[in-house]
C-alpha cells in the first residue's frame, strides 16, 4: 500500500516520524479526511471574522426584529427553513436567529470543550498508566482498583445527574449559571471519567515494554527511573497516545452534544451543536432543516475525524493492519 517516493538523497536516513508522515501523505482517504478536519478547525478559529464579513451574529433575533421572516407560528417563511441568499442556512424557528453563525460559533464550543478534555484525559491517563505500569507492586494494584471503580460509574447518567448538583454548590437556584461555569463543569466531569480507559491502555503498554531488553539495559546502565520513562518508554508510547487522543476527539464532541441535547450541557444563549439539536428535536415536525444542519455537521466531522484517526494509526504502525 505504501508508495514510497524515492528520497532526494537515499543515503540520508529518515526518522520514524518522517516515515510515518510519508505514509500518511500517501494515504489519500486520510489526507482528504485531514483536510475536512482542518477546515472545521479553521472555520471555528475564524468564526468572528467570517461572521463580520457575513454581517450577522448568532445572538440577534433577526426573525423577530423584522416582520416577514417568520410566519405567524414562528417558523421561517420560504422553503428549507428559510434558506436564502441573506440567511445561508436559514433561521431558527421561534427566536429567528441566524443558523449559519450559530453553527460556526457552535464549532468553537464543541471543539474547545473536547480539545481541553482530550488534553487533560491524555496527560492524566498517561501519567497514571506510566506510574502504575512502571512501578508495579502495590502502587499498580491500588491504581488498578481506582481505574476499576472509575470505569464502574455509568458516566453519561452520572454526568447528567451531577451537573445540577455541582451548580447548586456555587449558584443559588434563582440565578442563571454563567456560561464559563457550565463549560468548566462539563470539562471537569467529562475528564473525571475519561482518564481511566487511557490509563488502562497505557499501563498495559508500559507493562509489556518494561521487560524488554533496551529498558533492562538502561536500568543496568544506571539510568534513573525518570530518565527511563522519558528516554526509553515515552518514545515507544507516542503511537498509542496519539491514536487514542485522535480517536477520542470525536467521542467527546458527540458526548458533549448529547449532554446538551439532554439539557445537561450548554444552554441558551451560547451557540452549540447539541443545543441546536435539542431545539431541533422540539420543532422537527414543522422544520426538519433546523435539525438536519447541526446533525449533518456533526456527522461529517465525526466521519472525517474517525477516518483521520484510522489513517494516523496505520501510518504510525503499518504492521497493525
Amino acid at each position: 500500500m505504501i508508495r514510497s517516493r524515492p528520497s532526494k538523497d537515499p543515503t540520508v536516513p529518515r526518522t520514524p516520524a518522517a516515515l510515518a508522515w510519508q505514509r500518511l501523505r500517501a494515504d489519500r482517504t486520510g489526507m482528504a479526511a485531514g483536510v475536512v478536519v482542518c477546515a472545521f478547525f479553521l472555520l471555528g478559529l475564524c468564526a468572528p471574522l467570517i461572521s463580520a464579513i457575513y454581517g450577522k451574529n448568532p445572538y440577534t433575533t433577526y426573525g423577530q426584529n423584522e416582520p416577514g421572516l417568520l410566519d405567524e407560528f414562528g417558523y421561517p417563511t420560504g422553503s428549507m427553513g428559510g434558506i436564502s441568499g441573506r440567511f445561508w442556512l436559514g433561521l431558527e424557528p421561534g427566536l429567528g436567529r441566524d443558523v449559519f453563525t450559530q453553527l460556526l460559533y457552535g464549532i468553537r464550543t464543541s471543539l474547545l470543550i473536547s480539545a481541553v478534555v482530550v488534553l487533560i484525559v491524555t496527560v492524566l491517563g498517561t501519567a497514571v498508566g506510566l506510574i502504575a505500569g512502571y512501578a508495579g507492586g502495590w502502587l499498580d494494584a491500588g491504581l488498578g482498583r481506582i481505574v476499576d471503580i472509575a470505569l464502574s460509574f455509568p458516566s453519561t447518567l452520572f454526568i447528567i445527574a451531577f451537573v445540577p448538583v455541582v451548580q447548586s454548590l456555587f449558584v443559588s437556584a434563582d440565578q442563571q449559571t454563567p456560561t464559563w461555569m457550565r463549560v468548566t463543569t462539563l470539562v471537569v466531569v467529562l475528564a473525571a471519567f475519561g482518564w481511566a480507559p487511557v490509563a488502562r491502555l497505557l499501563r498495559g503498554q508500559v507493562v509489556s515494554l518494561r521487560t524488554r531488553e533496551f529498558v533492562e539495559a538502561a536500568r543496568i546502565g544506571g539510568a534513573s527511573p525518570i530518565r527511563i520513562v522519558r528516554r526509553e518508554l515515552l518514545p515507544n508510547l507516542w503511537t498509542p497516545i496519539l491514536v487514542s487522543a485522535s480517536l477520542s476527539v470525536p467521542v467527546y464532541v458527540t458526548t458533549e452534544a448529547a449532554l446538551s441535547f439532554l439539557g445537561a450541557g450548554i444552554d441558551e444563549p451560547t451557540p452549540d451543536w447539541g443545543r441546536m439539536i435539542h431545539r431541533g428535536a422540539e420543532v422537527y415536525l414543522s422544520d426538519i432543516t433546523y435539525m438536519l444542519i447541526p446533525g449533518v455537521a456533526i456527522l461529517i466531522f465525526v466521519v472525517a475525524f474517525n477516518l483521520l484517526g484510522d489513517s494516523v494509526r496505520d501510518a504510525l504502525s503499518p504492521s497493525g493492519r
Partner: protein, 324 residues
C-alpha cells in the same frame, strides 16, 4: 474455579460498596442543601423541614450512609412510610419509594435492551463475518464504509430524522413509544421497532468492524491453518473453527456494552420518549428529586459491575488460564 469465582465476586461486591459510597457522598455531602434538592420545584418550608427530618440530614454523614445501606438490605422508615428492602430512598416529589418506581420503569428499558441486542448481534456479527470472509473485495469495502458512517451516527440525530421520514412523512412505522407487552403485544412491538432499528444501525456498525477484525485475527491462528491443512471444507473451517475463536472476543465486547447500556439508553429513551429507567433519571434531574437521581445512578452502576463480572466468569469458563 470456585476460588476464582469467590475472589472475583467479592471484588465486585467491594467495588459496588465503594461506588455506592462515592455516589452517596457526592450527592449528599456536596450540595449546599440536599433537602432542597429533594424537595422538588414546588417546595414549601413545611415539606422542606419534614424532608430534612425524615431523611436524617441533621445527623452525621456516616450515620446517614449507614441508614442508607441498612435500607438497601433491610428496609427503613421515612416517618410514617415504610420503605421495604431493597430501599434506595423515598421520592418526596412522587410520594413513592425509589425502588418501586424503578421496578415500574424497568420493563421499558429491558424491552429496549433485548430487542436492540438481538438486532445488533444478528446484523452486526453477520455482516462482520461476511466482510471478513470477503476480505479485500468489493463487498468488504462497501460494508466497512457503511459501518464507518453508521458508527459515526448519533441516536439523537438518526432517531429523529428516521422518525420524521418513516413515521411522520411516509407512515411506514407506527409512532414509537412503550406499551406493556402483556397489555398489547402488537402495539409493544410496533412502538419499539423504530428505537430498536435506530440503536441497531448505530451500534451494529461497531460490531461489524469488531467482528471483522476478530475473525481476521482468528483466521491467522495456527489451529485454523491446521484445520485447513487437514482438508476440511472452507465452511467448516470458517464457521466451526475461526468463528469459535472470534466468538469470545465478540461476547466480551457485548457483555461490556450491555453493562453500560442502562446508562447510555438515556439518549434513546429521551429521543423516543420511552419511559424507562434512564429517562426517569433525566426527569428527576429537572424535578430536583435527589433520592430518585441517586437511585438510578446506583442501579446503573450495579448493572455495569454485574455485567463485567459475568463476562469475567464466562471467560474463566472458556479459558482456564484466566483462573490462575
Amino acid at each position: 474455579m470456585f476460588g476464582y469465582i469467590l475472589r472475583r465476586g467479592l471484588g465486585a461486591v467491594l467495588i459496588l460498596l465503594v461506588v455506592s459510597a462515592v455516589t452517596f457522598l457526592l450527592f449528599y455531602a456536596l450540595p449546599a442543601d440536599p433537602a432542597r434538592l429533594s424537595c422538588g420545584k414546588t417546595c414549601t418550608p413545611q415539606s422542606l423541614a419534614q424532608i430534612r427530618h425524615s431523611m436524617g440530614l441533621d445527623r452525621p454523614l456516616a450515620v446517614q450512609y449507614w441508614q442508607f445501606l441498612h435500607g438497601v438490605f433491610a428496609g427503613r422508615h421515612f416517618d410514617a412510610v415504610w420503605c421495604a428492602a431493597p430501599c434506595l430512598g423515598y421520592s418526596f416529589v412522587n410520594q413513592q419509594s425509589v425502588s418501586s418506581t424503578l421496578a415500574d420503569r424497568f420493563p421499558a428499558t429491558l424491552s429496549l435492551a433485548v430487542g436492540a441486542s438481538v438486532l445488533i448481534l444478528t446484523v452486526g456479527v453477520g455482516f462482520g463475518i461476511l466482510a471478513a470472509l470477503r476480505r479485500g473485495r468489493a463487498l468488504d469495502k462497501q460494508l466497512t464504509a457503511v459501518a464507518l458512517v453508521g458508527a459515526s451516527m448519533q441516536v439523537y440525530f438518526l432517531g429523529i430524522v428516521a422518525r420524521y421520514l418513516l413515521v411522520d412523512q411516509f407512515d411506514l412505522l407506527p409512532q414509537p413509544g412503550y406499551t406493556g407487552i402483556t397489555s398489547d403485544p402488537g402495539k409493544w412491538f410496533g412502538g419499539m421497532l423504530l428505537p430498536w432499528i435506530t440503536l441497531a444501525v448505530v451500534s451494529a456498525a461497531t460490531y461489524v468492524r469488531f467482528t471483522r477484525s476478530a475473525m481476521i485475527e482468528a483466521e491467522s491462528q495456527e489451529y485454523v491453518r491446521t484445520a485447513r491443512a487437514q482438508g476440511l471444507p472452507p465452511r467448516v473451517v470458517h464457521l466451526r473453527y475461526a468463528w469459535r475463536g472470534a466468538l469470545t472476543l465478540v461476547l466480551t465486547q457485548f457483555g461490556l456494552d450491555l453493562g453500560v447500556f442502562l446508562g447510555s439508553a438515556v439518549i434513546t429513551e429521551t429521543t423516543f420518549n420511552i419511559h424507562g429507567i434512564a429517562q426517569l433519571a433525566v426527569t428527576s434531574v429537572t424535578n430536583l428529586d435527589l433520592p430518585m437521581i441517586t437511585g438510578t445512578v446506583l442501579v446503573a452502576a450495579t448493572f455495569i459491575v454485574v455485567c463485567n463480572t459475568a463476562v469475567d466468569f464466562c471467560y474463566a469458563l472458556i479459558d482456564p488460564r484466566v483462573r490462575l
